[in-house]
Symmetry: none
Subunit: 223 residues, 2 copies
């Protein structure tokens, strides 16, 4: 068993909170109890709980205790926590709404340098030989398109999606669905997107992106 450090304890606590523990009165056990339960010093628990406090999962009161805020469905922290549990199918549906739009914006707004960055990512992805490298530059290709959409909010939503896609359920899925043939398909579809972007054809970029995402969805979800 790996040694527990503050960060691990913070993660363990978050998990237990998200599983509904301590929900009946919204109160966490005293730090001293948690310390003995995890078998670490109270200082360590304090740092872990401090992390939860920092991201708004919890509030502390001297003499009273530590209380969950996650019970409040309107908190940022609770919203993000719930997002981590959304299904790949739901996310793919939203990607198909947002990414074609991002491609369309990019076709209109991108600078020549930004488009060049997109082309670079595409080139490296196509040339890559192993799955991790391809994964990375594939993601980078999509990211750079969002980056030239000139809409900060859209960029951040994509960031959220990217983070979620790097977590558990997605990983298994991507691993299963990867094959040399699919990689080639993705490359040619990316090429069509890129061509439309370079031609400043926003409708074409949008359509090409949608086609690509439908392929991805089919591969990932097996439909």
């Amino acid at each position: 068993m790996p040694k527990l450090v503050a960060n691990d304890i913070a993660i363990a606590l978050k998990k237990r909170i998200s599983l509904g523990e301590w929900l009946e009165n919204g109160r966490m056990p005293p730090e001293r109890d948690l310390a003995s339960e995890f078998g670490v010093a109270r200082n360590t628990v304090r740092r872990a709980v401090g992390m939860l406090e920092d991201d708004g999962t919890v509030v502390r009161h001297v003499g009273r205790g530590t209380f969950l805020t996650a019970g409040n469905p309107d908190s940022m922290a609770a919203t993000v926590a719930r997002m981590e549990g959304t299904s790949p199918a739901d996310m793919m549906e939203i990607r198909q709404l947002l990414e074609p739009a991002a491609a369309s914006f990019a076709a209109t707004n991108a600078s020549a340098g930004e488009l060049n960055a997109v082309r670079e990512a595409h080139k490296i992805a196509c040339a890559s030989q192993d799955m991790p490298t391809f994964e990375h530059w594939d993601a980078e290709f999509h990211h750079r398109i969002f980056a030239c959409s000139r809409n900060d909010f859209l960029k951040e939503i994509h960031n959220l999606m990217r983070i979620l896609r790097n977590q558990r359920p997605w990983f298994e899925m991507k691993k299963r669905s990867f094959s040399e043939e699919r990689r080639a398909t993705y490359c040619s579809e990316h090429q069509l997107v890129l061509d439309a972007l370079l031609a400043r054809d926003s409708e074409g970029a949008s359509a090409a992106m949608l086609t690509h995402l439908r392929t991805v969805e089919r591969n990932l979800l097996g439909r």
Copy 2:
């Protein structure tokens, strides 16, 4: 068995990272552990990890450890923090992408009870006399439409937008833009959305919502 050199170890590590290892807390084992696991000297591991660091797969901190840059649990919070700074114009642009889709989904998927809840919110909003009450039920109307879209990710994105819209710059803006005339406009536009939902007309719902959002954008941003 060929002898392991730093490059081999870098490749092995990358592979294990790409397969999702160490993803739960984003932390790699200490170099000394990796060295004994691979059966090589720590210097060799150091060079391998150095390669991962060079291509950005990993960051190292003296005394703390080596951490994956993807799946970094902090970046979620950072992303949300950046979102708080996005401009109303950018968010309105994205609302015009997502809300018509949500309305369309709702027209298809909502249960009779859910549609009733939407109607209730609409009715109270129309009947309300003061700005805070109207604001609340107006938001609730939109929220309940998302609630019957049957896409959890979409719902949570809307939640994020709602939280952001209740913060500073938006509040001032909404206060400035409020007028009795506009309230009446919103009510009649909501009515059109509601009618389409009740008629299970997904295209109509989408179009009515888009029209409404364009009105809101004009009023808020003064265009």
